[in-house]
Amino acid sequence: MTLLGYLVVALFLPLFPISMLFNRLYARVGTLRARVFLLLVWPQLGLLVLAELPGQPPTWVVHWAVVTACFYAFRAVALRDLTLWIAYMATSAWSLLWAMALFAPGDMLLVLQALAFSAPFVLLAWLASRIELLFGAAYAGTCGGLGQTAPRLSVLLVFSILAAVGTPLFPGFFALLATTANLLPVLPGAALVMLTAWFLWAWAGAQMTRGLVVGPAADEPKPDLGLAATLPPGVLLAVLAVAGVTSLGYLT
């Protein structure tokens, strides 16, 4: 029964190869609302089931989870499609929740952490839909030069990517720092793999930023986001940074 439970959790806190289901589903779902729903709810379902299971996840599962995180981070380095990138990076981040579940002082904190992980991807999903509207696809290299064409959109894009790859002061940084500090004495190998995943996130983030933001402006002028449309995501990013600084109670 417990094994079945873990298999269910492995679907929502993705473990390779079950993780492929989420990625297929995310790529298939066409509407923004459905994607946002998936990004917000998917890991929460995993945490819900995990809370019902007795004891802590076995260490081999944690090892498997960090390897999954590293695997998807590595694969994200080669991606050019922003939508796929979001799915891979979300898979990579959520699988780390297995390791965090070992040490989180409470279930609520883990729920908040999962939300903090999902929030930048939600923003990115929204931005991807805007870029698709402008260019027909959110594809690095083909719709480059957003920095010139749509400066507001690119600022939001850059900050969302920074939040997604665990940059201070966003919550991902503090969560990963606390998890490393706790995981290192118990499972040093897993901690090192997690740090490798973190490094690969930065690489994947830099590749995507370069492909979308850098370059000469598009030949045809494209409409940028208005101030009213920029403000709510901007506020959300600021809230995330504040949540990070308060460390969500992790670093105690």
Binding site: P168, A202, T209
Partner: protein, 559 residues
């Protein structure tokens, strides 16, 4: 003072926010706001340094229970003064230099944020604050280097910088996690106290904690200070704006030396780590200098020059001359900043006069001026050897009778000597009409260099590490057996003498090398001109990894 320490990094932060607010309507005025902020920051930092010089005791200012601790001590106050000073100069310079650039106001916001991050780094009193600042510097540098959002080249190398920095960040994070696991606190002060009480603590896999952490800290410093194999980002990030290059070469790249100084209470308990640091610094200094000489692009030459200087700085840490490294990073920061900020003027002058020396025969026959002479070889070689000995004797007479016996003091003098020898080699190549004037200048400069290293670094030592016992501990940690120390000094002396002999041989026989020597020389030159193929190796590796990731994605049908 409690208010002054946080102000040092809060003022540039506020300045960045104000500039950001003004970004919409104001263009030139955004720079003014930023410059006023930089000036106010400099005033705060100067006051802090004044307090430290007046002998105020070190203190911690706490903003949180777990982290958010700021430190007031001689090292933080001195570094804050240097960082804010260089930042102010760069701000003032950028006001007109960047006027025609796109994203003028954004540039000043980033500059302010970078200043804030650097000041947070130097005043950080706990590991988390230090890690935050350490990470943010890399991220902000990425955006400053990629200021021109149309340039793929600028962003490519900015990304290399980011990744090298991120590699170093994660090593520092690993060191922090090990320290937290061992001592249960993030506070630097608390950690150093506990390390002093129990330096023999073991960590994962039974490894000695102090050595392991010191090694990780050193590696992190190597990534930040462009040590060999982690250096490629430095010479290739010249596509960024000139003020950013100035700030990077004068301030950011020096952070490695600062980090090692910050962890000095840890390094004094290590055994052998400082020797490895010395070796890495030495290799970097030699390779950086050789690569600098082989460049035909002035900006890349400057990049490799910085690499060589950073190697020198790390080497100083490796021999226990920690405060000398701080003196070095300040001196290097000032002169390299001047070089970068003066680059525009040099280009302008070069348009008037290409600076290529005229042929001696032309000067003599057409211009009817006496041919310019080169200094006598033997005299220059003698100066290289005699001046340091004279100063050593003077130091023995003026400073301490047991000066000869102090390995640390001899180390300082040794660095002065090596630097001075470099200076004399450079000036020897100059030709002049008034040879006595140039000789006088050379003698004066050489004396200043050797004296500077010996006495100024002694002053830095006393200021940064007032506890004499601690100073001796640092040198003891770096100390080597007297036999090896003497061997090293003799070896370096022989290298200098050999350098002079080669110079003499070349002067007598021209640049003609024969037989196997010629082949060897050409092989070496090819290697150097291709920068030891390090950049190619990295490009291959990253290309291979991206291709492997793509294949995996295809194999797994992109899911």
């Amino acid at each position: 003072m409690d208010a002054l320490v946080p102000l040092v990094f809060l003022v540039p932060l506020a300045s960045a926010l104000l500039t950001l607010t003004a970004l919409q309507g104001l263009h030139r005025d955004s720079a003014r706001i930023s410059i006023v902020g930089a000036f106010a920051t400099f005033l705060c930092a100067s006051s802090l340094l004044g307090l430290a010089l007046a002998g105020h005791t070190s203190d911690e200012i706490r903003f949180g229970t777990t982290w958010g601790v700021l430190l007031f001590d001689p090292l933080s106050s001195l570094m804050a003064f240097v960082v804010s000073g260089i930042s102010l100069i760069v701000h003032v310079y950028s006001r007109r230099y960047m006027a025609e650039e796109r994203g003028y106001a954004t540039f000043f916001v980033l500059l302010d944020l970078m200043t804030a991050a650097l000041l947070l780094m130097v005043t950080a009193g706990d590991l988390i604050t230090l890690l935050i600042a350490w990470h943010l510097i890399g991220v902000l540098l990425y955006f400053l280097l990629g200021q021109d959002s149309t340039s793929h080249t600028a962003h490519r190398y900015a990304a290399w910088t980011l990744l090298t920095y991120r590699f170093g960040d994660l090593l520092l994070l690993l060191a922090a996690a090990l320290l937290y696991h061992a001592f249960g606190t993030w506070s630097l002060h608390g950690i150093f106290e506990q390390v002093a009480d129990a330096p023999d603590v073991r960590t994962l896999f039974g490894l000695p904690l102090v050595e392991t952490v010191a090694g990780l800290v050193a590696l992190s410093a190597f990534a930040r200070s462009a040590q060999f194999l982690l250096h490629i980002w430095l010479p290739y990030t010249m596509s960024g704006p000139t003020p950013v290059s100035a700030l990077m070469h004068a301030g950011i790249v020096n952070a490695g030396g600062f980090l090692i100084n910050r962890f000095a209470p840890l390094f004094v308990h290590t055994d052998g780590v400082l020797h490895w640091i010395f070796v890495v610094g030495l290799v970097t200094a030699v390779i950086g200098s050789v690569l600098m000489l082989a460049q035909n692009d002035i900006k890349k030459a400057l990049g490799y020059s910085t690499m060589g200087q950073m190697g020198f700085m790390i080497m100083e840490c490796g021999v226990g001359a920690f405060s000398l490294a701080v003196y070095h990073l300040i001196a290097h920061g000032l002169f390299k900043g001047t070089l970068f900020l003066g680059a525009g003027g040099v280009i302008s002058e070069a348009r008037e006069d290409d600076g290529v020396p005229k042929d001696d025969l032309y000067t003599f026959v057409v211009e009817r001026r006496s041919a310019r002479q080169r200094q006598p070889w033997l005299l220059m070689a003698a100066v290289t050897l005699v001046v340091p000995v004279t100063i050593l004797v003077l130091a023995h007479w003026l400073v301490a009778e047991d000066f000869f016996q102090k390995q640390g003091a001899v180390v300082l003098l040794f660095f002065g000597w090596v630097t001075g020898a470099q200076l004399i080699f450079s000036t020897y190549r100059m030709r002049t009409e008034n040879i006595w004037r140039l000789m006088g200048m050379i003698l004066f400069s050489f004396t200043i260099v050797v004296l500077g290293y010996t006495f100024i670094s002694h002053a830095f030592d006393v200021f940064l590490y007032p506890d004499e016992a601690f100073r001796s501990q640092i040198y003891a940690a770096a100390g080597i057996d007297i036999f090896w120390f003497d061997t090293l000094v003799i070896l370096m002396s022989l290298v200098v003498v050999f350098g002079w002999l080669v110079t003499y041989y070349t002067e007598q026989n021209g640049r003609r090398w024969k037989g196997a020597l010629s082949t060897l020389w050409h092989g070496f030159y090819t290697l150097v001109s291709r920068e030891f193929f390090v950049i190619n190796a990295y490009a291959r590796l990253s290309g291979f990894l991206v291709a492997a990731a793509t294949r995996l994605n295809v194999l797994l049908r992109w899911s």
